[in-house]
């Protein structure tokens, strides 16, 4: 992959893609979108980076160790948010009754744990897509 045009253009548009992905994740509870499409967009930006600059540069950007932590950590975050419900005497994954701050209707920080769970899902989906792609294109050592 040594196409100058592809590299320059990717370098320009990848930040925009990432900003859009983060926007979609953050506004999941207010507008269409959410963790799954947002995470997939974020993952796609890294996939584009890998395609333009080669597998090694992509692997350096998100090393295998980091993505391993992100994958487990995202679900553990999800479970931890759910366990708060048990902690305050309600059931697993309780939102309003567990005392999460509800905020103002229509704000980004509102709706209790929903934004946090959306972020956890977004991280999970993005890291999964990146790991899967890097594994799929992986060159054999022999």
């Amino acid at each position: 992959m040594d196409d100058q045009i592809v590299r320059v253009i990717s370098r320009i548009i990848i930040p925009f893609i990432q900003v859009y992905g983060i926007f979609v994740v953050m506004h999941g509870h207010l507008s269409p979108g959410g963790g799954f499409p947002g995470g997939a967009i974020l993952g796609a930006s890294i996939i584009l980076y890998t395609l333009a600059f080669g597998a090694e540069a992509g692997a350096k950007m998100i090393p295998h160790r980091t993505s391993k932590w992100l994958e487990s950590g995202a679900i553990l975050l999800y479970i931890a948010i759910g366990l708060v419900g048990i902690g305050v005497g309600r059931t697993f994954l309780t939102n309003r009754a567990a005392g999460f701050p509800m905020g103002e209707l229509g704000n980004v920080i509102s709706a209790g744990f929903i934004p946090f769970i959306t972020i956890a899902i977004g991280i999970k989906v993005a890291s999964t897509m990146i790991t899967l792609f890097h594994t799929m294109i992986g060159k054999d050592p022999h």
């Binding site: 269409p32 499409p37 996939i47 897509m129 792609f133 799929m136």
Partner: protein
């Protein structure tokens, strides 16, 4: 509106048949990607933008990339 719906559904079925009958796997995957996109448009028409967005990002985007990555590592022509 109903006629557009009908056209999209017919297009979907044609895409599905074509994806099955094409011998070149890369073409089949590209047809499948367009199938996913048309499906996303159909879901947009059915008033579920969340699903349409997810299908466009995951179904048409990521799945296609995975397919192409695998075809590049295996063989391209179906016998």
């Amino acid at each position: 509106m109903q006629i557009l719906n009908l056209i999209l559904v017919v297009f979907l079925i044609l895409c599905a048949i074509a994806a099955g009958r094409t011998k070149d796997l890369v073409s089949a995957v590209v047809i499948f990607a367009s199938y996913s996109l048309v499906m996303a448009v159909l879901w947009l028409m059915l008033q579920s933008p969340d699903v349409a967005m997810t299908e466009a990002a995951i179904g048409a985007g990521v799945t296609t990339i995975m397919f192409v990555a695998v075809i590049s590592r295996t063989s391209r022509i179906e016998k």
